[in-house]
Every structure is written in structure tokens, then in C-alpha cells.
Symmetry: C2
Subunit: 377 residues, 2 copies
């Protein structure tokens, strides 16, 4: 969302080169919207979406918990002032020495999706709580969800049984319906799977208490997406449908939905050209591309809104590419992007909805270009 | 190439975490092989392939020139001790202030592919030499070559004519046959295009002198590739066929071919698991992935040789994935990778042929993971 604060910041500071500006007021609005939508769920912010210290501090002060992918992210959350009891080590792929380090730091909630991982945690974080991630099909998600995380529900029963046998607290089930999930019904079948695991373990005398419903909450790019309240309603209905009046504790892990629309990238048009006189499309080259922070344009998955001071003028479809010498550094080509006909070298553009999954994806120095700078205001 | 020097380095230093080790002896061998294969061509090392200062210094001392993608890369080449006359600003997408900075630093050879870029150079690097890049089809290349760079030959004639009109030295034509190009004949049609541009400009009284034949020279991954000498022979034959006894000056810009096989990445198996009891493939998770330096596994384009101390044992196809919480961080899944059945958590693997396009592609901190460390020995 290009807020007045972001516009003023860019007008006053005039930073050189591409940069991301994040407006903390929007982050706060988003946090409150999630809390209103799912008042009984604990919010665990997915730090990987944007780990800027100012964002972590704000969310910590608002009462958020933190979903961390690595020891470095756990340390960032601790630095933001939260106790380890508010941190989940949510990556199912962990080195045993990292499990040990998290345990040392006081973290006691871990994700698993196989017995191999349970064994590491039993050895290096004895007595910890674990939840097992189950596979979902990811239908309706705009960012591809592979089979990388999770196991089938039947295997989750075995994994949690083994956890209990090894002295861990088998606590619950997690799932992820796929990032930028625009179908509010997507949570229903996963919640049904969670209930199946709860029931199977109850028969063995193991009582689960937690359903971690992951992230997937979308941000508004070009198309409208349902509001947090619509997700909240659909999810609450599914929980009631499957768990009746014995509702489990629940967790949500918004990342993109928390910070995506809070950030805007300022970029400059470096070149506008054609490949031949007969070329249908103009090529527009920016000073940011796939390797400078816009990695989610991979396979043209995420289509960001792009604004310029020429908006309202006639547009024509353009191929949009980044500044590196890599021929794969093209953002939109299969579906060219409509941009003002009068767009020219030196024009500034604003790429909206870029608060999540941009700064940390940037390469260290591909082609000698600096990583994306970020200002949190 | 896993040389004894690399093996000894890893055995002695035992670096923690994933890292790249580059053997400078192999880089030197590769440089000499290119010089032998194309003794009349000037070698411009593509800095973007691996800008490690030790590599740049070695190549500078051997007499290499440098193809740079940005002002930062130009500064790195200068820091390695070369004069600006040995540097080409080979990116066709340049901010005018970067052109001016390169000019200030003494660089006088620039790539263009449209009149818009020519105008910038005429204004900010008056009198410079320019060469115009023409499009090729990239057939036979393993890394996708898009239409991002270059224009059709007929337009190149206009671009170079305009350059001459604006007081620049219209110097020649460049092309790129696509990275990891395994067809030695791929250069032929591009050389024919270059000749067409030479002839059309000669009719206007503009005498071109340079053909920049770009890179594309492959490195050996899993399949054998032709030797530098085979490329040299095919290219020399094409030059003679099209230019007769009036051979132009030529440039080659090897990057991958210069350093790819000089580097090896050491990685650790973090987890080996299945998604269900019936799962056909095991999943093997490493401590490096698509966002930690192996970006070229995108769409499973580059398939690296992977070695372990269990080689020789029975293998089974595995899905290979990285350590981040991103579901797109999977290297090989459509075509699973055969790995030893006995492979287990904590095993070290060596990923060969990773000297090019790895360190600089690594993300700054995705999921909190450090960028790929590099040791040049």
C-alpha cells in the first residue's frame, strides 16, 4: 500500500538505487486484523517473510509470537525482546546441533515431519513439545507448494507416537495450505486431517492439544483477495465442524499476510527498447530484478502492482526485466505487463506489495549489484 | 574437479557449514586451454561467473582482460591490477551515471543493443568504442537464453550507424550463443550475422573491426562436453568461412568455462526421510539449496555431479532439496537424483563443477541462513 508516509519518505530522503520502504502502521493494522479475525488463535509471525528488527520489535510489543526457520531467526526474535516461550522452531529440516542450540536458548516447541527428526529432538532437546506437519495439496495457492514439507496423516500418527515414546511431548499437528492462498475453504480438508491424527493418537492414550494452521494468508497484489475476517470465519467454521465443542488450541503463522502490503519498492527505469522495428512489445529494464529481491516473479508466480506518475495515460504491454547480464533475469514476459506508453529512461516506478519475501531473497552481489536496501518507517 | 588440493584443504580446515572451495590451478589450466584453442582471440573473463579477488588477480597476471556487468565489477577488475584498457563494460543495460563513472575510470569499450543506450554513451562517455549485440536463438544451450539481450542484425546496423553519427567509434558486433552451449556449431550462424552487419556498415563507409563472440563455453557436469580445442576449431572454421582472409579481431568471454570445474561445494546431509511408507523416493535435504548458491538448479537446468564417500554402493533415486522453509527450494524432483541407499544424516557430500554462478547468486540471509562462504586456494 503506497501510504502517504512512504510517499513523504521517498520525497524527502530521495534514496539512490532500488530500495524497499515498509510502513509499520500497516503492519500494526494487519496484526490487529488477524487478532480480530481469529481471536482464539495465537499469532506466530513467520520471521522469514521479513526479519527487519523494527518489524520484529513492533510485533513483539503487540503480543505476537514468532515462527523461526533457523537459529539465526530465533536469535533475532530474542533480540526483539520476546521470551523463548513465544518462539516456535518451525523448520522441519534442522541440524541436530541447531536443535541443541535452540534448546540451550530456551526454545521448547519444534516442528517435525518424520521420525528421523524426532530422534534428533529427543536427543538434543529432551522433553520438548513437537508438532507434526501433514501434507496438503496446496490447491488455490499462487506460490507453488511442493511436497517438500509434511508427511501423510497416517505417518504423522507414527511420528507423534514415536515422539511420545522417546519422552517428548507430542503436542499437535501443523499444516500449510500454500502461500498466497486465495481460497478460504482450503483450510477445511487439512483441519479434517488434523482431527484424524488427534483421534488416532487418542486411541493410544496420547492427547494432542494443538493445531498449527500455518500461513498462506494472502496479500493484495493485482487481484482482490478475501479479507482476514473471511478467512477467520471459514477457519472457525471448519474447526467447529471437525472438532465440535472440543476445540483445540490453535496457532496461525502469517508472514506475507502480515507484511506484504506494508512495503513498496522504489525502482528506476534503466532502459526502454525494442529488439527489432517489428517487435510487438517494448522491453522495460529496471534497476531491480529476479536476483535483487524480486525472486517471487519466478515463473511469473507473483504479479506485483506497479505504479508510476504516468498512471492514467495510455498503456501498452511490456516485457519487464532486471538489470543483470543473466538472461533468466526477466520478470514478466509470457504475460507482458501493461505500462504507460510514455514511460522512459530515468522514470521512477513503485512496486507495491513487496514487504514480504524480497530483501532476504536478494543475492549478495550478483553481477556486482548491492543487495536490496530497506527502510522501515 | 575434486582435486587433491581441495580434498586436503577440506580435510585439514574442516570448515563448518556449506562452502565453496576453488582450486586456482584449474583456473590457470582453463585459461591456458582457451589461449591455445583460440590463440588470436583476446580473452575477456566474465567477472560475474565468480568475482573472487584471488581469481581476478590470477587471471590479470596471466594476461586476461575482463568483461564487467557493473561499475562494482569494473572496480574489482581495476583492484586486481589491470588497466582500464583491458576492461569491457559488457552489460547492455546501464544507468547513464554508471556509464559516466566507467568513463571516469578510463573504460572505453561498451556493449549496446539499441539507440537509447548509444545516446547515453555518446553523452556520458564521448568518443568511446561500442559494439552492438545481436540476438541468437540459443539452441543447444543448457541454461535458458532469453531474448533479453541483443537486437536483430538489421537493427544492429541502425544502432551502429547512429553511434558513428554521435561521434562514438562503431567498433563491432557481439553475440552470445547461450550458456553451457554444447553444440560447437552454434557459433556459425551468429558469425554469419556479424558478417552481414560488417558488410552493411561498410557500404555506409563505417569499418567495423571486432567480433565479440561472448561466452557459452561449457563446463563438465554429468555429461562430457567438447574440449576448448573443439570449440576453437569450429569457431576458427566459421570465421574463415564467413570473413575469408580478412579476419576481424575477436574476443571471447568465458565465465563458466573458466571457473566452473575449478570449484567444489562441500555440503552436509541434514535429513533423509519419506513422506509416507509407500513413498517411492526418499527425500534428501542438504544444508545448501536454491537460495544458498545453487540457483542454477532452477527448473533443474544445471545438474551437478554429487560425490560422497559411499560412492560405489547401491544407489536409489532421491528428491534433493535445500534447508529453507520455502517449498520452491527443491533442486531435483522431476528427475530424481541417484544417491547411495546408505546415505544418512550428517554425511558430507561434494557438489562438483560449482566454481561458477554460485557464491554471488546466494541470498543475503533467506531464512536466516548465511550466504555461501568461499575459499580460493
Amino acid at each position: 500500500m503506497v501510504t502517504q508516509r512512504i510517499i513523504d519518505f521517498l520525497a524527502t530522503r530521495r534514496p539512490d538505487g532500488p530500495c524497499l520502504v515498509v510502513d509499520l502502521d500497516i503492519v500494526e493494522d494487519n496484526f490487529r486484523a488477524f487478532r480480530r479475525a481469529l481471536p482464539d488463535s495465537a499469532i506466530f509471525y513467520a520471521v522469514k517473510a521479513n526479519p527487519a528488527p523494527e518489524i520484529l520489535k513492533l510485533l513483539a510489543s503487540l503480543g505476537s509470537n514468532f515462527d523461526c526457520a533457523s537459529v539465526a531467526e530465533i536469535e533475532m526474535a530474542l533480540d526483539a525482546g520476546v521470551t523463548p516461550s513465544r518462539i516456535s522452531y518451525g523448520n522441519t529440516i534442522k541440524k541436530e546441533r541447531d536443535v541443541a542450540r535452540a534448546h540451550e536458548l530456551g526454545v521448547s516447541l519444534f516442528a517435525v515431519d518424520c521420525t528421523e527428526e524426532v530422534e534428533k529432538i529427543a536427543r538434543s532437546a529432551p522433553g520438548a513439545r513437537v508438532f507434526c506437519r501433514v501434507l496438503t495439496n496446496g490447491e488455490g495457492a499462487e506460490w507453488p507448494l511442493s511436497r517438500k514439507f509434511g508427511c501423510v496423516p497416517a505417518m504423522a500418527v507414527d511420528v507423534l507416537t514415536e515422539a511420545a515414546r522417546l519422552g517428548l511431548k507430542a503436542t499437535g499437528v501443523s499444516f500449510h495450505v500454500g502461500s498466497q492462498q486465495t481460497n478460504t475453504e482450503a483450510w477445511d480438508s487439512a483441519i479434517a486431517d488434523a482431527k484424524f491424527v488427534f483421534d488416532a493418537l487418542a486411541e493410544k492414550g496420547i492427547v494432542l492439544t494443538l493445531v498449527n494452521m500455518g500461513g498462506g494468508f494472502p496479500t493484495r497484489y493485482l487481484k482482490d483477495v478475501p479479507a482476514a475476517s473471511a478467512y477467520g470465519q471459514a477457519i472457525f467454521q471448519s474447526l467447529t465442524k471437525h472438532f465440535g465443542n472440543q476445540l483445540p488450541e490453535t496457532i496461525i503463522e502469517p508472514g506475507r499476510g502480515m507484511v506484504g502490503d506494508a512495503g513498496v519498492i522504489k525502482t528506476e527505469v534503466v532502459l526502454v527498447s525494442k529488439k527489432s522495428k517489428a517487435d510487438e512489445n517494448r522491453w522495460v529494464f529496471l534497476d531491480i530484478g529476479k536476483f535483487g529481491g524480486l525472486a517471487e516473479t519466478m515463473d511469473e508466480a507473483i504479479r506485483y502492482p506497479i505504479l508510476s506518475h504516468r498512471d492514467g495515460e495510455a498503456t501498452e504491454p511490456c516485457v519487464l526485466a532486471g538489470p543483470t547480464c543473466d538472461s533468466a533475469d526477466v520478470m514478466y514476459e509470457k504475460t507482458p505487463y501493461p505500462l504507460p506508453v510514455s514511460l522512459t529512461v530515468g522514470d521512477e516506478l513503485l512496486i507495491d506489495g513487496t514487504g514480504a519475501y524480497t530483501t532476504t531473497y536478494a543475492s549478495v552481489a550478483f553481477n556486482g549489484f548491492e543487495p536490496l536496501r530497506s527502510y522501515v518507517i
